[in-house]
């Protein structure tokens, strides 16, 4: 952080012309090597997920029984599974599912966090007291158990798991957003807006919400890793995204576990991909937090 401060002083003249995200990018490259590594890994994964058809030599459901349990070879870089499906192909397609679930859930989480956190802080008083007790109660539940309970009732599915993960993570994040909104509320421009007769909804939407964006972005980046990991845990327990979609957690649990002794690679590589993605998100998220919102340090 100290280095970043010096940087602003020296390059203040030309830096002012950059948009805020440009500034963050420059500081990320200059001062956060670990965060930059995370960002590069993530870009590569996003690229692979987007162009899976071009990158992979097979289809994700393409079976080839003569290649059952094939080891590492030129034809199958990471081996093949019990149906002769190429593991590399399935991992790349798995990135598509995991990242889509992660990103969609994080968007839902951000909206939920804002919807709960901002009014709770701005309206204060009894509303805040009641809303926060609900948040307290939700946070008291052991995370995975409550998610399993809800998913067992809604049934498994791509949409269900995304919505459930998004909402539950959003409720947790709302506490942080509330804290930020409480401090924004004390600013003079809020008082000024109130003085000219702006209604609470307008103040919240136009003045409070835009100022929480740095925190929202940081929470989203850090939350992505957690959400992907949770999705994998749920898939591992059989409550995740159902087949035939290849997901990293599902590949580990359903097929990976059963054939682990014949083909250990089936259990190893999806786990490596999963860890790498979460690792990259955490690194990138930490760096972003330092750059955008140092107040949150230690919150994750």
């Amino acid at each position: 952080m100290q280095q970043a401060g010096v940087g602003i002083g020296i390059q203040g003249v030309w830096k002012r012309r950059l948009p805020w995200w440009g500034e963050v990018l420059v500081r990320l490259v200059r001062t956060k090597p670990l965060g930059l590594t995370g960002a590069i890994i993530l870009l590569l994964m996003l690229f692979a997920a987007a162009f899976a058809e071009v990158i992979t030599p097979y289809g994700y459901a393409e079976t080839n029984l003569s290649d059952r349990f094939a080891g590492y070879s030129r034809a199958h870089w990471l081996g093949a599974d019990h149906l002769g499906r190429d593991l590399f192909t399935r991992i790349v397609y798995g990135a598509r599912i995991s990242l889509s679930v992660g990103f969609a859930a994080v968007v839902i989480a951000s909206v939920v966090a804002l919807l709960i956190g901002v009014p709770s802080a701005y309206l204060g008083g009894r509303t805040d007291l009641v809303v926060q007790r609900f948040v307290d109660a939700w946070m008291a539940f052991p995370g995975l158990l409550i998610l399993l309970t809800v998913l067992s009732l809604t049934g498994p599915g791509l949409v269900q798991i995304t919505v459930v993960l998004g909402i539950s993570s959003g409720i947790g994040n709302s506490r942080v957003i509330r804290g930020v909104a409480l401090s924004i509320k004390e600013n003079q421009y809020i008082e000024a807006a109130r003085a000219i007769g702006a209604n609470p909804l307008r103040i919240m939407l136009v003045h409070v919400v835009p100022n929480t964006m740095a925190t929202v972005i940081v929470l989203a980046t850090i939350g992505l890793g957690v959400i992907i990991l949770t999705e994998a845990s749920l898939s591992f327990l059989g409550y995740g995204v159902p087949p035939p979609h290849p997901t990293w957690g599902g590949m580990l649990s359903l097929e990976g576990l059963r054939y682990m002794y014949d083909a250990p690679w089936m259990a190893i590589w999806p786990g490596v991909a999963l860890s790498l993605a979460v690792f990259a998100f955490n690194m990138f998220g930490d760096a972003l937090r330092d750059l955008l919102d140092p107040r949150l340090r230690g919150a994750g």
Binding site: F134, D136, P142, L148, L153, T154, G225, S233, L237, G271
Partner: protein
């Protein structure tokens, strides 16, 4: 201090009340009817209405909630739909296993987290710091269930060493019990050390910059004395609060660890109930564990206030 504890206890009441409301409503409002589940293939009663009446589900929602709450106050948390066994008894039998796993996991993660965190802070921006931080984030990224699977499978494939995972209660043979529990606790603890390490590092960095530490240095005290006796004691305070936050994760994550290592804990009990769609059991376990977490957070908050007197005046 007494006033603070009293106030914290009072805050707990509405939270626990809301916990019961959330648990109750969630299982009533979400799609998926218990009654249909029980009739399909199991024929617990001749008709849907009969079973509904038998389970008391035909009454208004408020009455159902009231009955449930009144039962809870009498210490009756309900019965399993399938076995008709009282839930509390079943729970009490399995809880020690989960609690032991949680405590051992916590121990592993605190020892690792505090150790690496202190080293990282004291040798800031050195190789030790960087490798410590990478290790912590890496461990945070590794799914515990994957690490557990690797620990179980890899030795048996490559070293032909297959440990026997038969659970022995602590009261029966403490040594054997610890031998069995140590590997799941180590695996789980490793993956939970990250957050503690990060809090420890940042708290330690903050404390090390305080005036009284500079005074200690200028007095010529040995580094070890400054770190352990002066800095660590104060830097440990935020770690206490993170332990409270970790608890729901520890208990939630135990579902997975218990099912991989075949430990007869609450996690496995819960999972079986879920598969059989035994909702009173699922509901009861959620309630008990949430209450446990709320109580634990109370203890953590009180010890936090005890350790750092400034908290009370907030």
């Amino acid at each position: 201090m007494r006033q603070y504890i009293l106030r914290r206890c009072l805050y707990m009441v509405p939270t626990l009340f809301v916990v019961t409301v959330v648990v109750f409503l969630m299982l009533r409002f979400l799609p998926g009817d218990v009654v249909h589940q029980m009739l399909e293939g199991y024929a617990y009663a001749p008709t849907v209405e009969a079973l509904r009446r038998e389970l008391g589900l035909d009454k208004p929602l408020l009455v159902q909630y009231g009955t449930w709450l009144a039962d809870i106050f009498r210490g009756d948390l309900g019965h399993s739909l399938w076995t008709k066994q009282p839930l509390l008894q079943e729970f009490a039998r399995r809880f020690p296993v989960t609690l032991e796993l949680a405590i051992l996991t916590l121990l592993v993660s605190v020892v690792l987290g505090v150790g690496i965190g202190v080293l990282s802070a004291v040798r800031q921006d050195s190789w030790a710091d960087y490798s410590g931080r990478v290790f912590a984030i890496l461990m945070l990224a590794i799914p515990p269930f994957w690490l557990a699977v690797l620990v179980v499978v890899l030795p048996s494939i490559y070293l032909q060493w297959t440990p026997v995972w038969t659970y022995v209660p602590f009261t029966q043979d403490p040594l054997e019990n610890l031998k069995i529990m140590s590997i799941p606790a180590l695996v789980f603890g490793l993956t939970r050390a990250g957050p503690i390490m990060r809090i420890m590092r940042s708290a330690m960095l903050e404390v090390m910059r305080q005036d009284y530490i500079r005074t200690a240095w200028s007095k010529g005290l040995a580094e070890q004395v400054i770190i352990t006796r002066h800095a660590l004691k104060n830097a440990l305070i935020p770690v206490v609060s993170i332990i409270g936050i970790q608890m729901p994760f520890l208990i939630g994550g135990s579902v997975i660890i218990e099912s991989i290592f075949r430990l007869p804990g609450v996690g496995q009990f819960f999972f079986e109930a879920l598969i059989r769609r035994d909702y009173p059991t699922v509901q009861g376990i959620n309630l008990i564990l949430a209450t446990f977490v709320v109580l634990l957070n109370l203890v953590v908050d009180i010890s936090y206030a005890y350790l750092d007197p400034r908290i009370r005046y907030r």
